[in-house]
């Protein structure tokens, strides 16, 4: 070991780290390619499974998939909830965004004209165990059912007084605010499309 520091030492020291990072990155990409479809399939099954919970009265087997373009210009797949008599009763809208720890993915149920939220489900989250992960609990999620969508949801730390207020989870204000912000964004993004005209959206064949 020479005592004089050399400036071009970085590569000599770090080549193994760089090589391993590339190797592992390649390995992970291969895993993602081979398992990604399966994971997406599992998520889709879960989405279908919770549709009757998100839009009360909806029948899982009658759900139609529609591909629409939101206000942000991106195409997104949304789910049209239909009840046993064939009546169109609501929509299930997928959304996602940054939470406290990692990405949070949600499904929001709204009624047919998107004026009212009918339910909320958390598809994926990695919030703090014992605090933020209570966003998946029905105590927290049930607050969203029945909220009007004419104004954005707000998170408060006391008992809600206004109709658009959600009570934050104790010790997990950021997680609560993240979920509410994701719900707001998701609905704001798709509200116009839903109201505009349902007939411009054609059902898409079953595909991943």
């Amino acid at each position: 070991m020479s005592t004089a520091p050399k400036k071009n030492n970085y590569l000599a020291d770090g080549w193994l780290v760089i090589l391993l990072a590339l190797l592992y990155g390649g390995g992970l990409a291969a895993v993602q390619v081979s398992l990604g479809g399966r994971i997406a399939e599992n998520r889709k099954n879960e989405t279908y499974h919770v549709i009757p919970e998100l839009v009360p009265g909806a029948v899982e087997a009658k759900t139609e998939e529609h591909t629409v373009t939101g206000s942000n210009g991106k195409t997104i797949k949304i789910y049209k909830a239909i009840d046993a008599s064939g009546q169109h009763i609501g929509w299930v809208l997928p959304g996602g965004g940054q939470g406290f720890a990692d990405r949070i993915d949600i499904l929001a149920g709204v009624n047919a004209d998107a004026r009212q939220i009918t339910g909320l489900y958390v598809l994926g989250q990695k919030e703090t165990p014992g605090l933020g992960d209570y966003i998946t609990g029905s105590d927290f999620r049930s607050q969203y059912a029945g909220k009007p969508t004419d104004q954005p949801l707000a998170v408060v730390k006391t008992d809600p007084t206004a109709p658009n207020e959600i009570r934050a989870l104790t010790g997990a204000t950021i997680s609560s605010e993240s979920v509410s912000a994701i719900v707001n964004d998701t609905i704001a993004n798709l509200k116009d499309v839903i109201n505009e005209n349902a007939s411009t959206t054609a059902p898409v064949p079953d595909q991943i």
Partner: protein, 206 residues
């Protein structure tokens, strides 16, 4: 060569009981406390941790001669994180419900000290055979520890084991045992028991 450490067989046996990662080294307490409310999540966690531990041990052992001392921890973490991500994806693909139930605890395997300590103590110094034996031994020891705690908690808390009813239906089910306090209580009692057995053994041998 530099094979002056314990042999493969010693490493293997040490991992199971004499140097049990949970009861003797008190490592990996997070999953021990968090996912032992039932046998199914506990055994899934043990399998995922074992997979990462054995793979990381093998990989570290393969590259041990290339490691730079000041960059070794970085390489260990990189290796462990890769295998944890693979384990996470496999769980999400094939055991979706379990993967949702374990939630953030699977990514948290990355910071399980048990794995990085085995890289540091064993596999960065010894050959592949010894590292493999060490990984399997430690994985079994970890699984055994999780199983012991999960058995007590699930049987007392829900009257079942692996979801199968083992106590009569009249058993009230001690709800606290499946809640977080039950984990601390069970771990405390079992640790005390192991310690007591060790002391008895030592006194008999003396």
């Amino acid at each position: 060569m530099s094979n002056d450490g314990p042999t493969a067989l010693e490493r293997f046996i040490n991992g199971i009981l004499p140097e049990n990662p949970v009861y003797r080294q008190l490592l990996g307490m997070c999953p021990v406390l968090a996912v032992t409310n039932g046998m199914k999540p506990a055994m899934t966690m043990a399998a995922a941790t074992g997979f990462v531990l054995i793979c990381a041990n093998l990989m570290t052992s393969l590259i041990r001669k290339l490691l730079k001392p000041h960059l070794r921890i970085l390489v260990f973490t990189l290796t462990i994180a890769t295998f944890v991500t693979i384990a996470d994806k496999i769980l999400a693909a094939f055991m979706y419900d379990m993967s949702k139930q374990l939630g953030p605890y699977v990514p948290l395997i990355i910071v399980n000290c048990l794995i990085i300590s085995r890289c540091e103590i064993c596999s960065s110094k010894q050959g592949i055979g010894v590292s493999l034996a060490d990984g399997i031994g430690m994985a079994l020891g970890f699984a055994l520890a999780l199983a012991s705690i999960a058995s007590v908690r699930e049987i007392l808390g829900m009257g079942s084991w692996f979801g199968i009813q083992v106590l009569p239906a009249a058993w009230p089910g001690w709800g606290i045992m499946v809640l977080p306090p039950g984990a601390f209580i069970t771990l405390g009692f079992l640790l005390g028991l192991v310690e007591w057995i060790q002391h008895r053994k030592a006194r008999k041998a003396a």
